[in-house]
Symmetry: none
Subunit: 221 residues, 2 copies
DNA sequence: AAGTATACTATACATTTGTTTAGTTGTCAA
DNA sequence: TTGACAACTAAACAAATGTATAGTATACTT
């Protein structure tokens, strides 16, 4: 759902407030900033919550949480994540970039619907090269021991790949990490672990969709 | 200034609360957790503030900020890296911590002489747990494919380890990554890759020195 | 022996803050 | 024209929360 211009103003103010001060504003602080009554501010917060931009922690003081971190109008009507330039300019120099951690990955062109962003993790920009990048927590053992369950893979969104690339693909409902090979008209998706099966598909098939290339692996032992 | 054991308990509770929930507890929540009256909790908060462990944002609801993230009794005259508190307080909340990348690792107690630090890389604090932490670029294939050459391993400095830990050890002049096993009085350092040899030493031997435990792996593909 | 710090009880006060009731005004679509 | 929504005023309510008053008990320090 789209925001009205007033709601946008208020949402941006809250985002800025939290970023600057580290904690959310109270209802009255929002009101005072826009010279409106607490009730008016309150209505806006409720509207923002209804539209899924904010979460309110019950009726707790300063209990606001931002749910939509980054909106980027790139290609098409879908908002894409991983491009927030504000974060790049922290303290003058771009050291880190907030990378969204994607919970659920769904089919369709617009890979990173905002609703699926579970949070963000700052990573040094040296590690993150590419426009549209996201993190995915690995579940299966298909790439073990190269990539282990619980690892985070850093993925650059792209719909094609080159021989030998490690890619994230969407097979049915599940996102899996596999190594990509193309021979003639056939595409092979090989796991590192022999107990998993190799997936073979025709080029151009729609059963399997390439979501992106793995450009990094992060493991917490 | 040192904390009393009770103050330590309360401080740790607040740290944990913030870490879990993302916002600080109220005075009463602290009190309820320890089954004491609000006033007693309040006194503790004031004591913690006086000792420089907390900051209270005026009289604001849930206005607590942790100031001391990690306490280090620095042993010796060496400046140690990875503890920069300014970076911990970026934008109010500790998102990243600058971790030193160690080029050369040398024997001797003070592991991280400043001269060997090649630079720093910011990492999210969720990944970095421990007082003295550094990054090391892996050269050999001894832990392949679990850890590959070119990977950065995140190491927590410690001179002992537990069975099954992946550790960084100093054998002669070279730092190597191995898996640690102790059986009876003998220590085994096993590579993941069978083509490398297992190192066996007597406990207490000075040929091999444990530098730290690997708590993370970072791979740029 | 007096003073100071810690750790606490019990109650009360005051502020901050979220929320409600009750209304007004303007816009835009059915 | 009616209805829904956005955006607001004005005042009040009530819950959460920080803080003060007043006091007890214990340990340690000078």
């Amino acid at each position: 759902m789209e925001l009205t211009s007033r709601q946008r103003e208020i949402f941006d103010y809250i985002k800025g407030f939290i970023k600057e001060r580290g904690y959310p504003p109270s209802v009255r602080e929002v009101g005072e900033h826009f010279h409106i009554y607490p009730r008016a501010a309150f209505d806006h917060l409720r509207a923002l919550e209804k539209k899924g931009y904010l979460k309110r922690r019950g009726s707790m003081s300063r209990g606001l949480e931002i749910l939509v971190f980054q909106e980027v109008e790139s290609h098409g009507p879908y908002r894409r994540a991983g491009l927030d330039e504000e974060h790049l300019r922290r303290e003058g120099r771009p050291w880190v970039r907030e990378i969204p951690v994607v919970g659920r990955v769904e089919a369709g062109k617009p890979t990173l619907a905002v609703e699926h962003v579970e949070g963000t993790i700052p990573l040094p920009i040296e590690w993150v090269k590419g426009k549209e990048v996201f993190l995915l927590k690995v579940k299966g053992e298909s790439m073990s021991p190269f990539i282990l369950p619980g690892d985070y893979v850093l993925v650059r969104s792209q719909s094609s790949a080159e021989n030998g690339d490690v890619v994230v693909t969407l097979v049915g409902e599940e996102a899996t990490v596999k190594r990509f090979y193309k021979k003639g008209g056939k595409i092979e998706l090989k796991p590192e672990n022999e107990r998993w099966e190799t997936i073979q598909i025709e080029e151009g098939s729609r059963e399997v969709q390439i979501l992106g290339k793995v450009i990094g692996v992060f493991r917490k032992c």
